[in-house]
Subunit: 265 residues, 3 copies
C-alpha cells in the first residue's frame, strides 16, 4: 500500500472541507482553530432543529461526547441519520467511555443509530467501548495504545469501520489492516482537546479521502508530526497549544512525508 | 463628519462598560478576553431567569446565534425586550445566516422581537439576511464584503439600524451614510471568533458612543488595525490569536487614528 | 502553623487528582488547561444522568455558576449530594453573586443542598453572598478583598467552610484563622477565567490535602506566584494567559516556597 500523505494534505487545503462538529464545550474553540489552521472550515451546530441542514452541506460529521446531555444526544442521533442519508463520513470520539454508565449507554445508542466511518479514542476509551472491564480516569487514558490492538480489531470488525487509538504510538485498524504511527510527544496529553482535535482533523481528511484507513493514518501522522514541530519551540503546555496550531498551518506536505513514521502491517 | 476614534477608545477604556453577551460556545472565552483586553468588562448570561437583570446593569447587549437552540433563543428574546425597555443598544451577529432554515427562522423571530442598533456579519450572512438566495458555507463567508452594499443598505433601511459587513474591506452603512474601513489582514479569517469578537467590541463602543455609525466604524477600525499590528508579530494563526489580544490592549488611541484607513462616502 | 507548600505541590503532581468541574462555558477550556498544567486531571460533566458516577471517581468537585441555567443547577445539586455521600470536598465559586436575583437564589439553593469545603470568589461576590447590599458589576469585582474580611468570616462560620477571597491581597479564612497571600499581579483581572481557575486549582489541592485552610492557602499562593512569573515574561493579556499556563507547569515546589508571601494571623 502506498500512502499519499502529501497529496492528502494538499487536497485538504485546496478543498477546505466543511467539518460539522457536535462536540464538547471544553474543546470547541480549540477544535475550530485546529480545523482552520490545517485549512479546513469548521462549523458547530447541535440543535435537532438544524443538524440535518448542516450535515447536508458538510463534508464530514464529527460526534464527540465529552460533555453530553440528553438534548445533545438527540441532536447527535439526528445528525448521524442525516449523515447516512447524505453519504457523509461520521467520526465518533467516545470521550470518557467507561467513566460513567451514562456515557456507556449513550455510546451504545449512538452506535446503534449509525455505524461511524471512524472511531477515534485513547486506549482506555477503546478498551471500554470494546467491553473490557476498564475504569477510565475521567477522560484521560490509563492504558497503553498498543495494549488496545485486540479491542480496536474487535470494534473495527463489529462496526465495519476504521478504529484509531491515540497514544505514544497511534494504532490504526481497518479490518485486517493495521498501521502504527510513531509520531507525537507526551506533552500533547497536557493540553486539553488534543484528542478531540485529532478526531476533528480526521473528519477533514475523511471529507477529502474516500479510503478511510488512509485518511485516519494521514490525520494521526499530521497530529503527531505537528506535535513534534511544536515541541521544538517549547516544552511548556500553554505555549505548546499555540505552537501546535501554528504547526498545523505551517507544515508543508513535504515535511509531513519526511517526518511521518508510519509502519504498515 | 469628523470621526473621534481616539476619543472613543479613550472613553471606552475609562468607562470600561459592561457588555452582556449571549453568544456561542465556540467563542465565549475569546470574546471575553477580547473585551477585557480592549478595556471593557464582559459578562455572559443566557438563562431566561436572569437576562433581564443582567441587561439592566449592562451598557450593551450582544446577541450571537453561532450555536443556537430553542432555550437559548428564548433567553435572547427576553434579553432583547429588556434592552428595549432599558434603552440599551443591541448588537446582532447573524452567524451562519443562510446555512440552515433554523437560523433563518430564528433571525426573523429575533428581528421581529426588537430592532437592533447594529447588525454585524460577514458578506454571506448579510446577503442571506437581506433575502439573497445565497448558500453560506457553514459560518465562513463565500462572498466579498463590497458586493453586499445593497444588502446592507436594505437591512439598514428596514430595521433602522447600522449594518457592518466584515471582510477585506469592512462596509458600514447607516441609512444614506456609507463608510469603508480598509484595515485588517486575511489571517483573521483563520482564527475562530474574530467576527464574533468584532461584534462584542462593537457592543463596547455602542455602550459609550451614542452615534451608532461612529461606534461601528470605531469598532471596525480597532479590529482591523489590531489585526495588522498582530500580523507584524506573526504569520501563523495560533500565535496570531494571542498577538491580537495583546494588540487590543497595547494599541494607543493615537496609533488607532494614525493607522485607521476609513473612507466616508 | 507550618505551611507545607512545597510538599503539597509535589504531592499534587505525584497523585494527579481527578477534579470534576461543573463550570461555566467561558472558562471550561482554560480551566481544564490550568489543571493539566499544574499536574492534575480535569473532567467536565454536568448531566444529572452522570454526575454521581463522575463524583465517585473524582478527588474533588468544583461548582461554578458563571453561566447557569435550571438544568445545570439540577446537575450541580445532584453532584453536591454525591460529594457528601462519597466524602469528596466541594469547592463553590459564586461567580456573579449579587449581579442578578437568579444567581442569589441559586446560590441559596446550592448552599442549602450541601456545605462546601471552600467558597472562593472575588470581594464583590463574597460580600453579596454574605448578605451585603452590594451590586456587582457583572462578574468583575467592585470591592477590595481586604474589605471583605468580615463577610468571609461570617460565611466561614455559617457554612463551616474555608472562604478564600481573591484580590490584590488574597484573604483566606477558616473559622478563627486568617491568612493573607500577597502574591499576584493586577493583569490577572484582564484575563477571563483566572478566578475560575483559582477555584479549580483549589479543588486539586483539596483533593490531596485534608487541611482545607492549608489547601486554600496553597492554591492562592500557587496562583499568585505563577501570575508573577508570567508577568516577568509579558505585560499584555493575550500572551499573559499563555505564560500563566506555562508557569503552572514550570514552577518548582522550591520556587513556590521561595516566592510565596503568606501572612498567617
Amino acid at each position: 500500500m502506498k500512502l499519499n500523505l502529501a497529496e492528502n494534505l494538499t487536497e485538504l487545503r485546496a478543498k477546505s472541507p466543511l467539518v460539522h462538529n457536535i462536540t464538547n464545550f471544553v474543546v470547541m474553540n480549540y477544535t475550530a482553530n485546529a480545523l482552520l489552521a490545517i485549512g479546513a472550515s469548521p462549523v458547530m451546530a447541535h440543535a435537532v432543529e438544524e443538524v440535518e441542514d448542516m450535515v447536508a452541506i458538510a463534508g464530514a460529521l464529527v460526534i464527540n461526547i465529552g460533555t453530553l446531555s440528553p438534548i445533545w444526544v438527540e441532536g447527535m442521533k439526528k445528525a448521524m441519520l442525516a449523515a447516512v442519508k447524505f453519504g457523509k463520513p461520521i467520526i465518533l470520539d467516545p470521550v470518557g467511555a467507561g467513566a460513567t454508565a451514562y456515557r456507556n449507554v449513550t455510546l451504545s445508542e449512538l452506535l446503534n443509530t449509525a455505524s461511524p466511518s471512524l472511531i477515534r479514542g485513547n486506549a482506555s476509551e477503546i478498551l471500554a467501548l470494546a467491553g473490557s472491564n476498564i475504569q477510565t480516569k475521567g477522560v484521560d487514558s490509563t492504558a497503553n495504545s498498543t495494549d488496545s490492538l485486540q479491542a480496536a480489531k474487535l470494534l473495527s470488525e463489529k462496526y465495519g469501520c476504521v478504529v484509531s487509538v491515540s497514544g505514544a504510538t497511534d494504532v490504526i485498524v481497518s479490518g485486517e489492516k493495521v498501521a502504527y504511527v510513531d509520531n507525537g510527544v507526551s506533552l500533547m496529553t497536557k493540553v486539553t482537546g488534543m484528542g478531540c482535535s485529532a478526531s476533528a482533523i480526521a473528519g477533514a481528511f475523511f471529507a477529502i479521502q474516500e479510503d478511510g484507513f488512509e485518511a485516519a493514518i494521514s490525520a494521526a501522522a499530521m497530529m503527531g508530526v505537528c506535535g513534534e514541530k511544536a515541541f521544538e519551540k517549547t516544552k511548556s503546555p500553554g505555549s505548546f497549544q499555540i505552537a501546535f496550531l501554528d504547526s498545523l498551518s505551517e507544515l508543508s506536505p513535504e515535511e509531513l512525508v519526511e517526518l511521518a513514521v508510519v509502519r504498515l502491517l
